[in-house]
């Protein structure tokens, strides 16, 4: 069975949030598939589409078009079918899709939502599962299930659609406090909010009750795993320690290549020399082995004693704001709320 057996839907516009789903939908007969496979949990996000695209391109500096959502080449044939898994990064892309489709004038009743739950987790994982879900994909489900769900696809209610659009507005807001409140409070129909903040909060620097500024959880993990010995990003990623495990869990939401990306940011950060970089064993196209890194005395000090200022660490855009930014000095309190310094 393919999509051609479901009248009116094989010619619809299908939106997929990872490459595997994009390929599977094409194999099933979909002719108009939009891949929107950008991981929005890291890097800048903007409400304005053009600005968003520019900011993302500058952030990743990638030559491939991973995100076709805003592409002028897309013909938005109705209905639009959105295929989304339980991965929290895909859920954020779902909000963005709702916002964009409304912007281009497609009514919510013409947007069919196919939400796929995560499969039950194995009883025998080699490593413990994190509390959040970032590895689920639509293709975890067999073709039969995909087509059955497609045959009875329904749009969101107007209320739920409005909420999704509003969530994108809040996610891209320069002031993250309202978004964080939404995550804490929860919103009906969006179970991803609490685990999403569990992940995003790892990217913000912390402030202790005594007022000491701390590295973000992500950077604390990196600078704890790093040592005076040269290590490749692979060495850091597979480190046999609790920090290594926590980093791998977090990396399910960012990708492994972000480990190399962040280490590069640290090494290139001009205001101090917390991390040093040298040529690694492989060519630049092998990003996880192209360089080696080691921690300096300054890095040890930052890790152990904390930051003297937010500018001690390389900035990291998250949603509509930026971690370690002096212009947007948001820090994480011990109760997991963000406040301005």
């Amino acid at each position: 069975m393919t999509m051609t057996n479901i009248p009116g839907l094989f010619s619809a516009t299908h939106v997929a949030y990872d490459s595997a789903t994009t390929d599977r939908l094409r194999q099933l007969g979909a002719t108009n598939v939009v891949r929107a496979a950008d991981c929005l949990l890291i890097g800048p996000s903007r409400r304005d589409a053009a600005e968003h695209a520019r900011a993302r391109q500058a952030w990743w500096n990638s030559s491939e078009e991973w995100d076709g959502l805003y592409s002028p080449e897309v013909h938005w044939e109705r209905p639009v079918v959105v295929w989304v898994s339980a991965s929290i990064d895909q859920r954020v892309n779902l909000w963005r899709t709702c916002s964009w489709l409304r912007h281009v004038g497609i009514a919510s009743r013409d947007v069919l939502m196919l939400e796929f739950e995560a499969l039950p987790r194995s009883k025998f994982p080699q490593e413990p599962f994190p509390s959040f879900e970032c590895t689920a994909s639509v293709v975890d489900h067999p073709d039969k299930v995909l087509l059955e769900r497609l045959a009875r696809a329904r749009p969101f209610s107007t209320t739920r659609y409005d909420r999704a659009v509003k969530l994108w507005d809040r996610y891209t807001d320069g002031n993250p406090s309202r978004f964080v409140s939404s995550c804490s409070r929860g919103i009906k129909g969006f179970p991803e909010l609490a685990p999403l903040w569990t992940v995003l909060s790892c990217f913000f620097p912390g402030r202790t009750p005594a007022g000491v500024l701390r590295l973000s959880r992500l950077d604390e993990l990196l600078l704890t795993i790093l040592s005076g010995e040269w290590q490749t990003p692979v060495d850091v990623f597979v480190h046999k320690s609790q920090e290594g495990l926590a980093l791998r869990q977090l990396s399910t939401c960012t990708g492994d290549l972000f480990v190399a990306h962040r280490l590069n940011q640290w090494a290139a950060f001009a205001s101090n020399a917390a991390v040093e970089r040298a040529a690694g064993p492989k060519q630049p196209d092998n990003r996880m082995l192209a360089s080696v890194y080691r921690l300096t005395e300054r890095g040890i000090q930052l890790r152990d004693a904390g930051l003297t200022a937010l500018t001690d660490a390389p900035p990291l855009p998250i949603g509509g704001t930026e971690a370690y930014s002096t212009s947007a000095p948001w820090v994480l309190r011990e109760d997991s709320r963000v406040v301005r310094l």
Binding site: D38, K123, V238, T252, G255, Q283, N286, M288
Partner: protein, 175 residues
């Protein structure tokens, strides 16, 4: 390889999951208080309550190895061993001659134990396989989705003990 193990696991799981646990012994459901009959399930000798079946098999004693009642100890690899053992034990159970049946069952169980030992040795950490994958370079290290290499997708599936989304994982150092 891994998908084969999953198929084997899927075959054995219903009988395995239906394992009744009593003090020191466990039985396939429906066989606990009666002779399950030849070929009705895994056949293993019990040298006494709570052992792991190390003593010679007794054809009247049909039960799953003690260790296999503890789900936490299982892996796809050991499940494959159990599946193979179940098949072999079923065949042995059809042997009419007592001595030959006993010998057959001993052989089946010896094979099962060897298989489990092999699993222990073969349980290579997914992180090690990720290292091997990354060391291979392209196409194993290619970016599948923005920020995600093929190697990390393979590692995620490996660590979660689920089938690989990408068959190429087998060519890129994953088992």
């Amino acid at each position: 390889m891994k998908s084969y193990l999953w198929i084997a696991a899927a075959v054995i799981l219903p009988s395995f999951a239906a394992c009744n646990r009593t003090v020191g012994e466990c039985w396939p459901v429906g066989e606990g208080d009666k002779n399950g009959g030849v070929g009705s399930g895994p056949v293993i000798a019990s040298g006494g309550t709570g052992d792991n079946g190390d003593s010679p098999p007794n054809p009247n004693d049909f039960k799953i190895p003690e260790a296999d009642c503890n789900i936490a100890e299982q892996s796809p690899c050991t499940e494959k061993c159990l599946a193979s053992y179940e098949t072999a034990a079923t065949t042995c159970g059809k042997v009419q001659d007592d001595a030959q049946r006993k010998s057959c069952q001993e052989g089946a169980y010896a094979g099962y134990k060897t298989c489990r030992e092999s699993c222990k040795k073969a349980s290579k950490p997914c992180a090690d396989m990720y290292v091997a994958c990354t060391d291979m370079g392209m196409p194993c290290t290619r970016e599948i989705d923005l920020g995600y290499s093929l190697c990390t997708y393979c590692r995620d599936d490996c660590a979660a003990n689920r089938p690989y989304k990408y068959g190429e994982c087998y060519k890129c150092g994953f088992e």
